[in-house]
Symmetry: C2
Subunit: 206 residues, 2 copies
């Protein structure tokens, strides 16, 4: 099930989500209260619970939305015509770096919200990693078909790639790191990884 497959929300639920999202983005999760959300929607706090099991679930729905957009974006840049498999892999991770970096720097509340959810709902973090891995798998599959890449255990290799580029997609670094520096290192690591793939491909063709 793709991460973007949200259960459809009725109109009331959507207005709750919208009101909550605005406050989450502006004031942060902790500084937003259920009564404020209820007030924005002209309803009582009790009624919110008819539509969402808890405050955290409202936040999760919102983050799910944000993440869905990210996945869509990654899929989009990667499926642009004329890109070779190596170019796709590079684009994938560079786009991800840029997305996380930008979000961290100019939408700090959204960033903080994601962190919050990931801590409280580890399963959601896993789901998200899998959704990304799926996009990687598709790139690898494309590479195998065009002969750009040796046949491999795609699921496993996706995981290994996620490990390899973890530094550029984890938040730990963004306090210290300047974007161009990170992007430069990402490029060089990608060069090395692609050389690895190239060797495997030429070997497998013998």
């Amino acid at each position: 099930m793709p991460i973007t497959a949200l259960p459809p929300l009725d109109e009331t639920a959507r207005s709750i989500l919208e009101a909550a999202s605005k406050r989450f983005l502006h004031y942060g999760y902790g500084k937003t209260t259920m009564s404020e959300i209820a007030g924005d929607c002209n309803m009582s706090t009790g009624n919110l619970y008819r539509y969402f099991p808890s405050k955290l679930d409202i936040a999760e729905a919102f983050v799910r939305h944000l993440r869905g957009e990210q996945i869509r974006r990654l899929r989009e840049v990667v499926s642009r015509p004329g890109l070779s498999t190596p170019q796709k892999l590079r684009t994938f991770f560079k786009t991800k770096l840029k997305l996380v970096y930008d979000r961290f720097h100019d939408r700090p509340k959204a960033y903080e919200l994601s962190q919050e959810i990931m801590r409280e709902r580890p399963a959601f973090a896993d789901e998200w990693e899998s959704a990304e891995a799926l996009v990687l798998c598709e790139i690898l599959e494309g590479g195998e078909m065009t002969g750009d890449l040796a046949v491999c255990n795609r699921v496993r290799i996706s995981r290994i790639l996620q490990d390899a580029f973890f530094r550029f997609t984890s938040s730990a670094v963004y306090y210290e790191g300047d974007y161009d520096l990170l992007a430069g290192e990402l490029d060089e690591l990608m060069d090395l990884v692609l050389d690895g793939f190239q060797l495997r491909n030429s070997k497998s063709k013998i």
Copy 2:
């Protein structure tokens, strides 16, 4: 200047450091007071400041000692005779994974102390990364000389390798990850990286 080059400490300073270390390991940094350390050394709190500028500096001296041991250990396993350059690289990162993993799991106070210092003294974290990079550079240099490796910008490649294996040496993962799982992924990533090096080496020989 290697990380192990500590300014020599006079006897009083050493006894302070020893007393403090015991308490840090047993009770943690926060739960250890200057008066306790002073009491252990049969002196007044004021006198501690003749030997260390602050409590944090005592802790730093201790962590510096621990880290020095780690570097020594890494250097040792890597310089065992009969190891090829690829084997050295693999051993380096697997040892580091094991060191961090073990410390996190069975010496939590020592781990917490390191984290504390790294947060308060980012410069120390950099120094530590550089000290490790130096060991990597030496491995790469050895590889170039024996022809196992193409000539490269060793400092840069060391950095890239640190990036690539960041996930296995950062702490973020140890909450979730089981050791064998991590070690398995590390091995596969190393396979890929080594394939990359091999391609570069064969190319450069043409």
